[in-house]
């Protein structure tokens, strides 16, 4: 049988196309496989975007909300006059109920030494209303900030707070980094 050069060229192109297709499919498959992860995703609040609108307290499917106030102690001034603990223009810098800003008295004020006080959040009482966060941001260093507590959060497929958040401060993140906690001004990394 005579060897037809036209047929062999056509065969060569056909084989080449098949191999190229296979290689492309393999590359795309491999690339996709690299991005497959078994890691879970969770909801996270960016405290730098949060505008303390109060919806975390009213819109979460959990009662009380899975959003709680967190305290960045290294950022706190431990002030006697704390804008997050005391109402603006309080009668006295004391723990009296009429002077407290928190509607549920979830912040405990502990004397350390003159004139420093430590402020501790009672998570069971906190409803995530962000009233203290507003006070701390307006008058202080912004050490009080909101975070979604993942042992309480149901991790809904569509977070009802994220849907209503006016500042888009809530987003899905990998479960390996569930919290975005504020840092200190003496920390070089944070500036």
């Amino acid at each position: 049988m005579e060897n037809n050069p036209k047929n062999s060229r056509r065969e060569f192109i056909r084989k080449g196309s098949r191999i190229s297709l296979l290689l492309t499919l393999g590359a795309v498959g491999g690339f996709s496989a690299r991005n497959i992860t078994h890691e879970k995703y969770v909801w996270q609040i960016d405290p730098f975007k949060c505008t303390q609108c109060g919806r975390c307290a009213t819109s979460c499917v959990m009662t009380p909300s899975a959003v709680k106030c967190l305290h960045a102690y290294d950022l706190c001034g431990y002030c006697d006059l704390c804008g997050g603990y005391l109402k603006p223009d309080p009668n006295k810098l004391s723990t009296a109920a009429e002077n407290q800003l928190c509607p549920t008295s979830a912040i405990q004020r502990k004397y350390i030494e003159e004139p420093y006080f430590e402020y501790v959040i009672n998570e069971d009482l906190c409803i995530g209303c962000a009233k203290c966060v507003k006070g701390c941001t307006s008058f202080g260093n912004g050490s009080l900030h909101l975070q979604i507590i993942h042992r309480i959060c149901l991790n809904c497929n569509e977070c009802s707070i994220a849907r209503l958040c006016p500042s888009d401060a809530i987003s899905r993140v990998r479960a390996s980094k569930p919290y975005l906690v504020k840092g200190s001004f003496t920390n070089d990394a944070k500036g």
């Binding site: 706190c76 603006p88 307006s138 006016p166 001004f185």
Partner: protein
């Protein structure tokens, strides 16, 4: 009879449409929710009686900085630092000189002879031509330099990280510290909750240092002994609010204090004795939750405020009918 059925159908359809539209209208959407039941009303404190505002904003100088940090005025020239540079500007906005650095300066002070540039953990001394005379790195890891002043050859450096004022000679050699502690029960050393710690000499040569955690201004002898102090704690206009105010201050030619506050931004004037006098600029002049503007005063008593967020120097001049 056939028409009657169509009419009933159309009426029913109209009712359904009205119900759907009404439900959609009253349903929860961003921006349509009821008011925040936990809102912290700040309007009462951020609104200022206009009768108290005794200064007009006369002009603005836009500056070529992405992050300005400090301002001072000396011999009719404006010194601004930020980014990695110092700019010397005439009051009309004409740029006289620009000097670049490897690090980002945090503050500046210019004496008739020298220019002192504070960085986060170091101090550089330049002559008025901008040539480096000395450098000082004798600081600790936690140092955060926020302000500098100089008198009789001694440089006073406010270290917010260590909560002390450090003293150096003109070669950059340490010659002492001021801790701000005294036997007085009311005064407890410097309480610096955030990197705002300012100091300045008035025209009488008195050293005044802010104790922001106590809302006080304290007068010290150059060797660090407390001479006198005054404080004004209140969220109302006549006082200083929050954790750490005033953030910056300067002196008018008559010795009155010009103070600048962070959080609820306010620039005000206090008498040399510490009594509240005037408002220069109220919170409505600034964006919400922005940096406290550094302030400086020229020989005529005009007040210059470094608006860090708008990246401009704003000039406030006393109203003429005063």
């Amino acid at each position: 009879m056939k028409n009657k059925g169509i009419v009933i159908f159309l009426i029913s359809l109209a009712i359904v449409i009205i119900v759907v539209v009404t439900i959609d209208y009253i349903s929860s959407k961003p921006g349509e929710l009821p008011a925040n039941p936990y809102a912290l009303g700040m309007d009462l404190f951020s609104r200022t009686d206009t009768a108290l505002i005794m200064f007009n904003e006369k002009r603005n100088l836009t500056i070529n900085f992405s992050e300005p940090t400090g301002l001072c005025i000396s011999n009719g020239k404006i010194f601004v630092v930020g980014d990695q540079k110092l700019q010397i500007i005439e009051p009309n906005g004409n740029l006289l000189k620009e000097i670049n650095f490897e690090l980002k300066p945090t503050c500046v002070f210019a004496s008739p002879d020298n220019i002192y540039i504070g960085f986060r953990k170091s101090l550089t001394i330049l002559n008025r031509e901008g040539l480096k005379i000395a450098n000082c790195n004798s600081f600790s890891d936690s140092t955060v330099i926020t302000s500098i002043t100089e008198r009789s050859g001694i440089i006073f450096v406010a270290d917010a990280g260590k909560r002390i004022v450090r003293k150096f000679d003109q070669t950059g050699k340490p010659v002492g510290e001021i801790e701000g502690k005294s036997g007085n029960d009311q005064i407890h050393g410097f309480i610096i909750p955030s990197p705002y710690f300012d100091l300045a000499f008035n025209s009488d040569g008195d050293l005044w240092i802010v104790n922001p955690g106590k809302h006080s201004l304290e007068n010290y002898t150059p060797d660090g002994k407390l001479r006198t102090w005054w404080k004004a704690t209140s969220v109302r206009i006549e006082g200083f609010s929050g954790c750490c105010n005033p953030a910056h201050f300067a002196f008018l030619p008559d010795g009155s204090f010009v103070t600048s506050e962070k959080g609820m931004i306010r620039i005000k004037v206090y008498k040399p004795s510490g009594e509240f006098l005037d408002v220069v600029a109220d919170p409505s002049k600034f964006k919400d939750n922005v940096h406290a503007p550094d302030v400086a005063v020229d020989g005529l008593g005009n007040i210059y405020a470094l608006d860090i967020d708008r990246k401009m120097i704003r000039l406030f001049v006393k109203k003429e009918n005063r």
